[in-house]
Symmetry: C2
């Protein structure tokens, strides 16, 4: 599966010509390149070769469809996580939206700093400050109310640098990869440190990943009756952190099978790739390397967001595929 | 969809005759009764009418396949839970198997009583005793080791009354219902108070329900490296109880959609049925009533296992379908 672009294009051109000669020849979908935004380098070739191997019936590498589980990190893997995690932007906007109902926030940290626009000051409180902001902005509603709040926010919020909706800052090559895998009998899951209920309202529409295939961090919920109607209320109590060594735990809890393909971008994904690729039979680990300061961002070992250090050191000896956004991706974002 | 058995059989007979006249006419699967173990009463008719309604495109009741989520309790709904929960039988056998490694159990309760065969004495310690037995028998292994232990046990364990393997004590009418729903675009989930990792090793083979569609109670797991190989270790710490008001919570956490069909048999399923049937559009709640002392067991309001009291009182006014095992099921268990 390693023919270069030139020969592939010549082949596609010939196919189209043959096709044009035949009556009833519809869109030549089987000849269309499923990964048009991927340049023809080692990364693309490794992915295509892996998919070919696990789908070839009657060979040693064949994996039945039920076991073709592919897991994807979200922030920095499927969409941009710079200059801040999208969910953090959401939380900060929620603090502003909720401030009129919380006059005490004018003097109470970390809210007071946030409301003055001093994000760094707010986070001087460390993990405790983060937890306070998350609980204040993510708890207290029913699950259905929260889903509506997220959808409404995404419909109007804009990326601070590009001015695009956040859902327009997904990576086009990854949309193609998700579709390519599904077309080859894989099921695609998100396994993110982000909130499960922050993602589920929109992942089906944006990525084609339904809610039951989204794994993430969570707060507790409680079943209760309100005016006789049952609701699930979101409590200000941490339930599960789906990051680092938590990712294999979250995968096991939700999927109950070990994936055969894992894609991440930071050391928060290290254990997910390690767990995935340590299984028997064909396995593939993929790391997206943010090295494109012109079209996206360039960051790795020293970044506070999406730090990639150990993964860079060990990808080679572990046989994980390193995707260079600069070299391997022809385009970054979908056309607006 | 309410034609009686007579007219349905006449129709099938005519179809078969027509079919025999046609060349290349294969097994007339589309005419075969998908629920042969269900007598033609109100319960069957309600289920068939519901499925017809939600699958009829272009009508008000139509539900797209992605939303056709059906949830099933396991113990007492898909397989027999008398005279003891199967998982309890497993735990008791595990205590015996592990006893040589735990000489202290000879004098330490609840193990000492159990090892003398005094089950009632062991459970005199109440919830604490149950927790001790569960942790001693369900924790301490890796997830893969535990799955093997469960499969090995099920391969040899026998029901104390019938002498059949427990997997032979599943309800034939429910196997048919699961298949009928899946053939109509539903996805079938188990939502059980039982352990998620006790069920996942065998539900695909026995019920056609894959591990990612099993929701249950859980203990915590921890990711670690053993001799360089990553494993998930089962810890003696409770994670989640998937029973009563926990069932809607578990469904939300795993599926992220509200089901449209819920099937249970005890008051432990009440909130699951309540949550399911309170949603908008067509919904169906089904309760299996154990009223067949001749072929299975008869128990409801006063049983310690699978108590059905509130559900019996409220099924009528809530429009839930009550399935009489005695009257609605032609057979109980699959042919050995």
């Amino acid at each position: 599966m390693g023919h270069g672009m030139t020969s592939r294009r010549a082949f596609l051109g010939a196919s189209a010509a043959v096709c044009a000669l035949l009556a009833g020849c519809a869109a030549p979908a089987r000849f269309a390149d499923p990964l048009p935004s991927w340049n023809d380098g080692t990364a693309r070739q490794s992915i295509v070769a892996f998919v070919a191997k696990v789908t070839r019936e009657g060979t040693a590498g064949y994996v039945p469809p039920a076991e073709r589980i592919a897991v994807f990190d979200n922030d920095g893997t499927l969409w941009s996580e710079q200059p801040v995690y999208v969910q953090l932007a959401f939380a900060l906007d929620r603090v502003k939206a909720l401030a009129p109902r919380h006059p005490e926030w004018q003097t109470q940290e970390p809210f007071a700093s946030l409301l003055k626009g001093d994000v760094a000051g707010a986070f001087a409180g460390g993990e405790k400050a983060v937890a306070q902001i998350v609980m204040a902005t993510h708890a207290g509603t029913t699950t259905e109310e929260f889903a509506t709040i997220v959808k409404d926010w995404l419909a109007t919020a804009r990326h601070p640098v590009t001015g695009r909706p956040y859902t327009g800052m997904v990576y086009q090559p990854m949309l193609e990869l998700l579709g390519y895998l599904r077309a080859n009998g894989f099921r695609t899951f998100i396994v993110s440190g982000g909130g499960i209920e922050f993602m589920r309202p929109w992942t089906e529409q944006v990525y084609g990943i339904p809610p039951e295939q989204v794994v993430g961090s969570s707060i507790r919920t409680k079943y209760e009756l309100r005016d006789g109607e049952p609701v699930l209320v979101r409590l200000p109590e941490l339930d599960f952190i789906d990051d680092k060594a938590g990712k294999p735990v979250g995968i096991h809890q939700h999927v109950g099978r070990r994936p055969i393909l894992a894609v991440g971008n930071s050391d928060g994904d290290f254990e997910m790739l390690e767990w995935t690729t340590a299984g028997e039979g064909p396995r593939l680990g993929v790391i997206v390397h943010h090295d494109d300061s012109a079209r996206e961002y360039a960051y790795d070992r020293k970044s506070h967001i999406g730090r990639l250090d150990r993964g860079l050191d060990e990808a080679g000896r572990r046989g994980w595929v390193l995707v260079s956004m600069k070299d391997d991706w022809r385009t970054i974002y979908p056309a607006p």
